[in-house]
Amino acid sequence: MDLALNRADYLQVGVTSQKTMKLLPASKSRATQKVVIGDHDGVVTCFGMKKGEAVAVFKTLPGQKIARLELGGVLNTPQEKIFIAAGSEIRGFTKRGKQFLSFETNLTECIKAMHISGSDLFLSASYIYNHYCDCQDQHYYLSGDKINDVTCLPVERSPQITPVLACQDRVLRVLQGSDVMYEVEIPGPPSVLALHNGNGGDSGEDVLFGTSDGKLGLIQVTTSKPIHKWEIRNEKKRGGILCMDSFDIVGDGVKDLLVGRDDGMVEVYSFDSANEPILRFDQMLSESVTSIQGGCVGKDGYDEIVVSTYSGWVTGLTTEPTHKESGPGEELKINQEMQNKIACLRSELEHLQYKVLQERENYQQASQSSRAKTALSSISINDKFTLNKDDASYSLILEVQTAIDNVLIQSDVPIDLLDMDKNSAVVSFSSCDSESNDNFLLATYRCQANTTRLELKIRSIEGQYGTLQAYVTPRVQPKTCQVRQYHIKPLSLHQRTHFIDPDRPMNTLTLTGQFSFAEVHSWVVFCLPEVPEKPPAGECITFYFQNTFLDTQLESTYRKGEGVFKSDNISTISILKDVLSKEATKRKINLNISYEISEVSVKHTLKLIHPKLEYQLLLAKKVQLIDALKELQVHEGNTNFLIPEYRSILEEADHLQEEYKKQPAHLERLYGMITDLFIDKFKFKGTNVKTKVPLLLEILDSYDQNALIAFFDAA
């Protein structure tokens, strides 16, 4: 990584959404570019940098929250018209700030994503996609799951208009007119789309996608079928991808891929001769990167990556060297600029402080009167609660536009809260009296000054469901706190998938009764994550799921009056049966539940668990030996006397320890699931085997696959 970029902050606006900052094309070659950005207050700000100071070109009046900002214009001319999506309206501004377009779409929902190409406008709200040409409605599509982003292959280079939708159910939908041409399955829920090299690559058909679990990929969308070009898995467990751009920052004549993530990571990938991406640069900013673009803003002649962050900072990562390396005279000048800037800020602050003091007094006085009320202003909180496939745990990310004072985490289900190394907040677990107050977890996070982002990891247990609440108190007077709720679903460790293995032995649970399609759908939503809340179109629907921990599967097919659930894991069926009957009783619906249990499936599940269990046991054993072996090594000076097995443990010691640390309590969780399997197997037979559980644990302690299977058969 020979790329060195220096950070320079330019300006702060209000809270920003994904893809709301763009650089206007430069008017002359090699002149600095202007930045245009839209925020949640509805303000569009356009500014340029002059001598290190941000100089505003224009600023619009506040209005509805801006969800997207794109540039457009007549094809093959500079794209310098600014379009914003706010609420259900599209507005257009010239680069001087004059509004030339206000287009009220007929969408009932707020616009979530927008793409512009010439006179074609592609919009999507949560589930609806619309295509307009010259503000005339052309095509329409209703998606089965949420649409996160929309793009379109370059119109000038392909014979027909080919829009691509990024849908939450891990699918890219390629449209033609109002119909789906085909679907492309990708490894995670896509969060952002971009044209490769900004123009679709050599073929004009290359589309980049980024997923909310941090994966990147390139797909060639041909007229007949998709071709997967490459994919970057998220090995380092970085955040989800929010924005992408192509720009030659390295300076080798090939456009590099710039990526912004929701954990504040900015990455640059360049391409080798085989067109495979290689990571060239990464830098951590403290908050989500909402938009990214390459260009030249700060100083003429120096390329840079311009990013905007969640709380509205526009920051440049520039190739311009810092003042330390430049000449002595110049350093002084830059320092002078800085000093001016600081002095200016200070005086501004003083003025504000005085004003705030006055207001505070007014507020105090007002609070004396008995009729007065105090309302709360809403400080925007950005949160994400997602299941990680790798370690079958949930991660909760809270991001606030200002510093967080403390966060209270409360849960009415037993869960494990794991601390993250990157958090600096001091966590403290409080004792809770679960019987009277439904608390199973009470923990406070007291944040250090200037913490705006908090990441937590949560391990849930399948079958135990309820709500997790986070009370977030930002560090702003008058102090208020906001509550966010997250549902822990009964089958919390399941994830949507596109296909399942049909050859596995399956247990089946069938529901019949007088219930509507919407009702049965709402039950499925209640039980399983990643199901769209809106009932999908059609009379009958099938969803496939995979257990992220055990890799067992679940197929659910339902229609009005009937629901069929098939899984190779008997515990999954047992949980579904319990939850569904409870829900139905609550709503006083008469349900007929019947099930078919396959004896073979238990053995099959145990076999699925076997390699995982064996690996964990071996790992635990090896890790236990490391310290003792190291001591021996110090004593003897070499390791020649050890048997090869022990020598290899010593050689891999660091790796083993890392691996072990990554999966805390993995073994306990596996034991728990085997125990559940054991109990559930016999529950369906009508026998209670809880008394035999200690015996089972004994067998697990001296684990042997055959003995375990024999025990399951014999008991």
Binding site: H323, L352, E359, S430, D438
Partner: protein, 721 residues
């Protein structure tokens, strides 16, 4: 940006806090550190090829310039420095749970090897007060001991609990060093020789102490707090979720004032300004930091800051040069300043907007029903807090209670209390279920010790369906003796143990003290002396009676000697009493102590006997081994086998014997701790000079094994002349 001037990677682990740099040959600085398997390694990069070969020292098989020193016991503390000024070079001091070794590395000889029954948890080397020669002061179970270079025990005193950290610092600015002691009972005590001149109560075990500059010193706690004291006042402190492994004072930015360098358990090293605690430099290791020391390790005349990680990585930093203007971090200070100012501006703007919204809400004057949705609460909502004593019920033990209530129909969604030392973590949360919400919440508080505690409350106030709540923040102090409930005087249950002393204070002043330190019901009014106040402990139901006579004589009846000591110390600081002689009698406690003393004697005897046995056995081993080998040489396999069988049995016996010795030793340690604590407790019943007299006299009595005199001293406070 400040970069390390050297980086070494040794293939030895380093035990936390056990690193020292010394010039063991008088010129070359070497790094000594405790490592695994009861060994100490000495890294000597300067004089290669010159090795000591002796029974204690061996060359490391892993590294060419490292020699290993066998201690054969887990090392519990380590330091290096000048112990004998005539020697001309530094001495390595290694403490274990039973012994202290002063080792001359250059001459490969022991200066002394002393048995220390109370263990050595912490060690510091230097001059103390008026004692002329340098002392190696070790802190063990409640005991402080100082040795000179001949191993003479020149300093001895007791402290409140197991010692975890020691430092020498000129606390009162008289040019002589005082001893700072951090112990397990969360106290930092300052000893001017054997007199306690100051006591500061912290919130956790004090794991490290270091002198900074003048009367300033740094400290670290086991809960991740580090901070700086100036005399008895804390300048600043910060708390991190990581643990501070080692602290050290070093002037890293060349401004003439030392910064506090902290090595953390997550591998971070940071330097903080001693005035403000602001971070001026930080770096990261891949594993926990084991120690932070300083020394001229490159022998170029400049002293470096040397940081060591537990995995054996060592980095040295030179102080920043003048051109860097104290700017040691890589991002420019201006950028950071601008970011910080902008953040402040943003916060102020947000606050302003809050007030504007409020004004708007007021003007619109919405009807009440909508309030819940809009999260609007009456502006005159107030929060009341009351402390009270709850005598408990069948399901709940007696406790102190903090009741929080709002002044109107708003509800309290949750109460968070941040306080140190009274909860398992640093906070306690009460979050009623949605069905049990009301406008008041009672929080049970059970402080484990009698210390005044500041409770920082945050209450979330709103309505049932609110998704946003107002946060009311307030701070309340829990009185020191909140766990004692006022009861009717009842002579029958009056404890027989008592302390008796005279003070010259008016009854009203004493009543004021009672009011501030106990939770008295509101209608309690105290008339003129004489009067008496009786309390019951909520912890164990024990009784406490405080009687004040008109003559100013005060009698406190309680069986709890610690409580009596706490009350006397609290009164002394409230009334600013400098010296107080007290007459005390605790028959029950004294009886226990007598038993303990007898036990100590027994354990000592057993210990001696076991040692003798072991010596016998080792002779036997030698014998058997020789005979077995003889047999082997004579090719008499049968006899050889028999001899080895015997040897095996003997080995088993030895192992068993060792286990017994171990148990005996832990028992002995426990009992010795009890004895030391008894002396400390007897001291705490007095104030000022009488206190020191009691401690010294008690110690003499124990030395001369005169148990009856010991009890007499504890009772009357002076040695019989």
């Amino acid at each position: 940006m400040l970069l390390p001037v050297f980086t070494l990677k040794l293939r030895h682990k380093i035990s936390p806090r056990m690193v020292a740099v010394g010039r063991y040959d008088g010129t070359h600085p070497c790094l000594a550190a405790a490592t695994q398997a009861g060994k100490v390694f000495i890294h000597n990069p300067h004089t290669r090829s010159q090795y000591f070969s002796a029974p204690r020292v061996s060359q490391s098989p892993l590294e060419s310039d490292v020699s290993l020193l066998n201690i054969n016991q887990a090392v519990s503390c380590l330091t290096a420095g000048v112990l004998n000024p005539e020697l001309g070079h530094d001495v390595l001091l290694v403490g274990t749970q039973t012994n202290l070794l002063a080792y001359d590395v250059y001459n490969n000889s022991d200066l002394f090897y002393r048995e220390v029954a109370d263990g050595a948890n912490a060690i510091v080397l230097g001059t103390l007060g008026d004692v002329a020669s340098p002392l190696a002061i070790i802190g063990g179970n409640c005991v402080l001991q100082g040795f000179d270079h001949e191993g003479n025990d020149l300093f001895w005193t007791v402290t409140g609990d197991n010692v975890h950290s020691l430092a020498l610092c000129d606390f009162d600015g008289d040019g002589k060093k005082e001893l700072l002691v951090g112990s397990e009972d969360f106290d930092i005590r300052v000893f001017k020789e054997d007199e306690i001149v100051a006591e500061m109560t912290e919130t956790e075990i004090i794991t490290s102490l270091c002198p900074m500059y003048g009367s300033r010193f740094g400290y670290a706690l086991s809960n991740g707090t580090v901070g700086v004291y100036d005399k008895t006042a804390r300048s600043w402190r910060i708390k991190s979720k990581n643990h501070a492994m080692s602290i050290h004072a070093f002037d890293l930015n060349s401004d003439g004032v030392c910064e506090l360098i902290t090595g953390w358990s997550n591998g971070k090293v940071d330097a903080r300004s001693d005035r403000t605690g602001e971070v001026i430099f930080k770096d990261n290791f891949s594993s926990a930091v084991a120690g932070v020391v300083e020394g001229d390790y490159r022998m170029d005349g400049h002293v470096q800051l040397i940081c060591c990680s537990v995995d054996g990585e060592i980095r040295g930093y030179l102080p920043g040069t003048a051109e860097m203007r104290g700017n040691l971090m890589d991002t420019s200070m201006e950028q950071d300043l601008i970011r910080e100012l902008s953040q402040k501006k943003q916060n102020l703007l947000l606050e302003l907007r809050n007030y504007e919204e409020n004004a708007k809400a007021e003007l619109s004057g919405l009807p009440n029903e909508a309030d819940g949705q809009r999260d609007v609460i009456p502006a005159n909502t107030r929060l009341h807090t009351i402390f009270s004593v709850n005598l408990g019920s069948e399901t709940q033990a007696a406790h102190t209670e903090l009741c929080v209530s709002t002044s109107n129909d708003t509800i309290i969604r949750a109460v968070l209390i941040f306080a140190e030392g009274i909860f398992a973590g640093e906070s306690h949360v009460v979050h009623p279920s949605i069905h049990n919400l009301s406008s008041s919440i009672c929080v049970p508080v059970v402080p484990p010790k009698d210390v005044p505690v500041d409770l920082h409350l945050k209450a979330f106030v709103g309505y049932r369906s609110s998704t946003q709540f107002h946060v009311f923040e307030l701070t309340r102090q829990l009185p020191r003796f909140s766990m004692y409930a006022l009861t009717r005087p009842d002579s029958a249950s009056e404890p027989i143990s008592y302390v008796n002393f005279m003070i010259t204070e008016r009854a009203q002043r004493i009543a004021l003290w009672l009011n501030q330190n106990f939770l008295l019901p509101e209608d309690t009014n105290i008339q003129n002396a004489p009067f008496q106040a009786c309390f019951t402990s909520l912890r164990n139901g024990g009784h406490l009676c405080i009687k004040i006579k008109s003559s100013g004589e005060i009698t406190i009846n309680t069986d709890d000697i610690d409580l009596a000591g706490d009350i006397i110390q609290s009164m002394a600081s409230f009334f600013a009493i400098e010296d107080l002689q007290v007459e005390a009698d605790f028959p029950i406690y004294f009886e226990e102590l007598r038993k303990v003393l007898i036990k100590v004697d027994e354990y000592h005897t057993v210990h001696q006997k076991l040692s003798a046995d072991m010596a016998d056995n080792s002779n036997l081993i030698r014998n058997l081994l020789v005979r077995a080998e003889d047999a082997r040489l004579m090719r008499d396999m049968k006899t050889m086998k028999n001899r080895y069988m015997e040897l095996y049995d003997l080995n088993k016996d030895l192992l068993n014997g060792y286990k017994i010795r171990c148990n005996n030793h832990t028992e002995l340690l426990g009992n010795l701790k009890a004895v030391n604590q008894a002396i400390q407790r007897a001291g705490r019943l007095r104030v000022g000079k009488p206190k020191n007299q009691v401690i010294t006299a008690c110690r003499d009595a124990i030395r001369s094994n005169n148990i009856n005199t010991l009890f007499r001293i504890m009772r009357v406070g002076t040695a019989p002349s």
